[in-house]
């Protein structure tokens, strides 16, 4: 992917062979995903699928899974999130990157979750999965990069277990595109989302960013998310949305609301 991967471990396996092995397996997972999904590789399955050289059924089942997630994200974001996007030559191509980033890191994190008695924070290019096992342990402190100055933070989120994703254009030459207009979104510098799964934190951050001025309003419809929107003028909007399943006092609790947090969005 060409993006930096950072891992922090603490606890039983933070410095031993098991921890290093899990890190190796996590990296191997990310490389495998890149081989299949990278739009920068001509020989990746996704690139070949885009060119019509192969059919979806010819590939790993994960590709269909990712594309289905992308379709669901497009529906729920009213078209702002897309999996068909302009490539470097301007021509539209299949590009599920907005789904793959978070989805890939969640898969890689499985190796780290298997480490007993070990907390971890796994970040790929600023999108991360974290876990804290002992309730007495401090939370991971996640800084949100200032989109106007990457040397600074605008906020610190103490996150015990969950995922954080940020969408914006602080470092990229290319722009994200609002799928409904085909143009760059206006008014938003970055969107950061905290959710129980990085797949959905990533999708929601991407979709919200693409929605531009409607970012915060749309995020308020997403159960179980916490979000920070940094607008182009430097002001911010923070919001937290209750999980679906808590229906109010005195009403039965659905299975979606459980402790610890569910592994995927309900």
């Amino acid at each position: 992917m060409g993006m930096p991967i950072s891992l922090a471990l603490r606890g039983r396996h933070a410095a031993d062979a098991a921890g290093r092995a899990a890190w190796g397996e996590a990296m191997a997972t990310l490389h495998d995903v890149d081989r299949v999904f990278s739009t920068y590789r001509r020989t990746s399955f996704v690139s070949r699928l885009d060119r019509g050289e192969v059919a979806l059924a010819d590939g790993p089942p994960e590709v269909a899974e990712v594309l289905a997630l992308g379709e669901r994200a497009a529906r729920e974001s009213y078209g702002a999130f897309r999996t068909r996007l302009p490539g470097p030559d301007g021509r539209e191509r299949l590009d599920p990157s907005g789904v793959v980033k978070g989805w890939a890191v969640e898969r890689a994190a499985r190796w780290l979750r298997a480490l007993e008695g070990t907390d971890f924070a796994l970040s790929a290019g600023g999108d991360m999965v974290v876990r804290t096992l002992d309730p007495a342990s401090p939370a991971w402190r996640i800084g949100i990069e200032d989109p106007h100055d990457p040397r600074r933070v605008v906020a610190v989120l103490p996150v015990r277990t969950g995922a954080v994703a940020t969408s914006g254009t602080a470092h990229r030459g290319e722009h994200l595109v609002d799928g409904r207009t085909g143009r760059a979104p206006e008014g938003v510098a970055s969107v950061s989302v905290v959710a129980s799964s990085l797949t959905w934190a990533d999708i929601d951050a991407t979709a919200a960013y693409a929605l531009g001025p409607e970012a915060a309003d749309w995020l308020r419809t997403r159960p179980g998310r916490t979000a920070l929107v940094v607008w182009a003028d430097g002001t911010t909007t923070s919001l937290a949305v209750p999980d679906r399943g808590y229906a109010g006092p005195g009403r039965p609790v659905s299975r979606c609301a459980s402790s610890p947090p569910p592994a995927r969005a309900c």
């Binding site: 060409g2 993006m3 930096p4 950072s6 922090a8 603490r10 907390d119 970040s123 290019g125 600023g126 991360m128 804290t132 309730p135 342990s137 401090p138 939370a139 991971w140 402190r141 996640i142 990069e145 200032d146 989109p147 990457p150 040397r151 933070v153 610190v156 989120l157 103490p158 015990r160 277990t161 954080v164 994703a165 940020t166 914006g168 470092h171 990229r172 905290v194 129980s196 915060a216 308020r220 179980g224 916490t226 920070l228 430097g234 002001t235 911010t236 909007t237 923070s238 919001l239 937290a240 209750p242 999980d243 399943g245 808590y246 109010g248 006092p249 609301a257 402790s259 610890p260 947090p261």
Partner: protein, 166 residues
């Protein structure tokens, strides 16, 4: 320079605090009702990086108060927020602030009839810092920002953190 700390309790499904508010560099503090006093002036403690931060966990008072170590800054005080009228009933929180950071959150009032044990998520209690801080003074473990290329990484905070922890 005055340091203003804005906070809110995130995705706590039983305690519904929907804080959707706008901030600006000269904004008032905003809570659902009442106000939280400003944090004491002065710099925050700068300690080593890594996992020693004293972030608040957001768990209710009946379980435990602050997790982790409190910052070494001298001034610690407790601020009691006003009663917030939420869809599900009244909620009131108090914060313990030390050295400009929220170190503990206590739930003084919660909607009756809620089963908070099942509902509380262990997510973030974001502390929005009106002044931007460098990674060191905020004791950050990881940085979330727009996806960086390997080239831009070198200038990023994450790079600084990774190097500091080596």
């Amino acid at each position: 320079m005055k340091r203003i700390v804005l906070w809110f309790l995130s995705t706590v499904s039983a305690v519904v605090l929907l804080f959707g508010y706008h901030t600006s560099t000269s904004s008032q503090l905003a809570t659902a009702s009442g106000s939280v006093g400003p944090a004491p002036t002065g710099t925050t403690t700068s300690g080593g990086g890594g996992d020693g931060g004293g972030g608040a966990t957001g768990t209710p008072a009946k379980r435990r108060s602050a997790a982790g170590t409190a910052p070494k800054a001298a001034t610690t005080h407790t601020v009691t927020g006003g009663v917030a009228q939420t869809q599900w009933g009244p909620v009131q929180l108090s914060l313990t602030v030390a050295g400009g950071k929220v170190t503990a959150v206590h739930v003084l009032q919660r909607p009756s009839g809620s089963s908070m044990d099942d509902q509380i998520n262990s997510y973030a209690l974001p502390v929005l810092i009106q002044e931007t801080l460098s990674a060191q003074s905020a004791q950050i473990d990881m940085v979330s920002g727009a996806t960086v290329t390997s080239g831009g990484y070198l200038q990023s905070l994450q790079s600084a953190l990774d190097q500091a922890n080596l």
